[in-house]
């Protein structure tokens, strides 16, 4: 257990020592999105009977939770691989499950810190209802964990930072952007609506938003099921990669 706590603590320190880049910067990015889109569209759009700026906030929060959870575990692993300091965590007798848990939990902490930061900052600009806080918490935690684990896979897989950027630009960004952060998918043409249902991030944001407004495109229980299933699959895959030492142990 001490091995796990140490690795978890080390991972927290790693982003906390540069919190300006890892926490403050993403909060600012989300605020800019809110100011620009909110300003342009506030007067024209009601979604599910909610004013656009308010509608936008949970999506932005979730988007930053996901992207930062992913960034944390992936950049930590790839940096350690490139500098070679990965040996320091490969030599000790840390079980795979503890290794996995430490990276994923640290990623969740960073994701949630950014998420809370975005939420607090945006409260200045729009009022926000909270109908079902438990749903909010559950979706934030589970989605952060899922993207933390995805970040581990990416960090183990890629060999250079530009490959990681490709992973982020061609997979993570489209998945999050095309998931209903900026709109309700029911405003989309049928084809794109159908396609959105194959995007797991859609369920994360939809369920998360339900916690705030009590309305959603699909039932939150269903969304939870989808997100949980994805998490289970990704966890099983990551543990298997760690067990085999894939790309970590030559």
């Amino acid at each position: 257990m001490i091995g796990f706590w140490t690795l978890f603590y080390k991972e927290l320190l790693r982003f906390w020592k540069v919190a300006f880049q890892t926490v403050a910067a993403p909060v600012l990015t989300a605020l800019l999105y809110l100011l620009i889109f909110g300003h342009v569209l506030e007067d024209h759009v009601l979604v599910h009977g909610v004013r656009y700026t308010s509608f936008l906030i949970p999506g932005l929060v979730m988007m930053q939770v996901l992207q930062n959870a992913f960034a944390n575990s992936s950049s930590s692993l790839i940096q350690a691989k490139i500098t070679g300091s990965i040996v320091f965590v490969l030599l000790p007798p840390i079980p795979y499950s503890a290794f996995f848990a430490a990276y994923v939990l640290a990623a969740m902490v960073r994701g949630l810190m950014v998420g809370v930061g975005v939420l607090l900052a945006t409260l200045w600009f729009a009022e926000l209802r909270v109908v079902a806080p438990l749903w909010i918490l559950v979706f934030a935690l589970l989605s952060g964990a899922l993207f933390g684990a995805l970040g581990m896979i990416a960090g183990i897989w890629v060999e250079k930072f530009d490959q990681l950027a490709a992973f982020q630009n061609f997979l993570i960004m489209p998945l999050t952007m095309l998931s209903g952060v900026f709109y309700s998918i029911y405003t989309l043409p049928t084809f794109w609506q159908r396609l959105s249902h194959y995007n797991p991030v859609f369920y994360m944001i939809d369920g998360f938003r339900y916690g705030f407004f009590g309305v959603s495109d699909v039932a939150p229980e269903f969304s939870l099921g989808v997100v949980f299933a994805c998490f289970a699959v990704v966890t099983a895959l990551t543990l298997n990669l760690l067990k085999r030492g894939w790309k970590l142990r030559t």
Partner: protein
């Protein structure tokens, strides 16, 4: 009693390159063992396999009777390794680095032992200096310190003296000798053959992934009377 290290028929390929072509070795507890050979002979690959950093294609490796794959937690607890590459984590200072490494091995309060290691490696004055600010030789010493935080009974040093100044080399060997006298098994690779000659009780010479000579240092030297280990090395390699 189990051998400190037992290696049986280990083969390791990197694509079409055979880095280890069936290596078997047994090292007893308390030995000071030298693993010598030219660049690319497979020394680091063998050591990495022992530490679980590389996965052999076949064969088995054990540390004090514990298989490094099936029983990896026990095997790793018993092994301390100084990697050949000069690696460090730029986020931390020397003391933090050693505290964190202790934690990875399940040790919470380790400051007495950390102080002793720092003292012996002449790092006390650098304890609170960030790793980035250390010279190459100092970083190397921190690597040695990191390998020792959990007082491993088997210690593997992969070229620990590369880039380390003369005075510290003496200090390092004194410390390692003391650990050996206290019962730690030492496995050493180095290209400084005088060091190996002075320190190692037994030596394996490796070439192209094979052990081509394995004997006590005295017996190896006796084969070529009057020659230094360096001459013995060159002649054996060219046989």
């Amino acid at each position: 009693m189990a051998a400190a290290v037992s290696i049986v028929d280990v083969v390791k390929n990197f694509g079409s390159l055979q880095a280890l072509a069936g290596v078997s070795l047994e090292i007893a507890e308390g030995e000071f063992f030298g693993l010598l050979g030219p660049n690319g002979a497979g020394k680091t690959t063998l050591i990495s396999s022992l530490a679980g950093l590389a996965r052999p294609d076949s064969g088995s490796l054990k540390v004090l009777g514990h298989d490094v794959i099936k029983d990896f937690r026990q095997a790793r607890r018993l092994l301390g390794m100084v990697p050949q590459e000069l690696v460090f984590d730029p986020f931390f200072n020397v003391r933090e680095t050693l505290q964190i490494q202790s934690g990875y091995f399940g040790i919470r309060k380790n400051d007495d032992w950390i102080d002793e290691i720092l003292e012996n490696l002449d790092l006390t004055s650098k304890a609170n200096v960030n790793m980035r600010r250390l010279s190459g030789g100092m970083k190397r010493r921190v690597l040695v310190a990191q390998a020792l935080v959990h007082k491993p009974p088997v210690i593997v040093l992969d070229e620990p003296t590369a880039g380390v100044d003369v005075e510290l080399r003496q200090g390092l060997w004194q410390f390692v000798r003391r650990l050996n006298n206290e019962g730690h098994t030492i496995i050493l690779t180095t290209h400084y053959l005088e060091e190996a000659e002075a320190l190692c009780g037994r030596i394996a010479l490796m070439k192209q992934g094979r052990v081509i000579a394995l004997d006590t240092t005295a017996n190896l030297m006796a084969a070529y009377p009057g020659a230094s280990l360096e001459e013995v090395f060159v002649r054996t390699m060219n046989q």
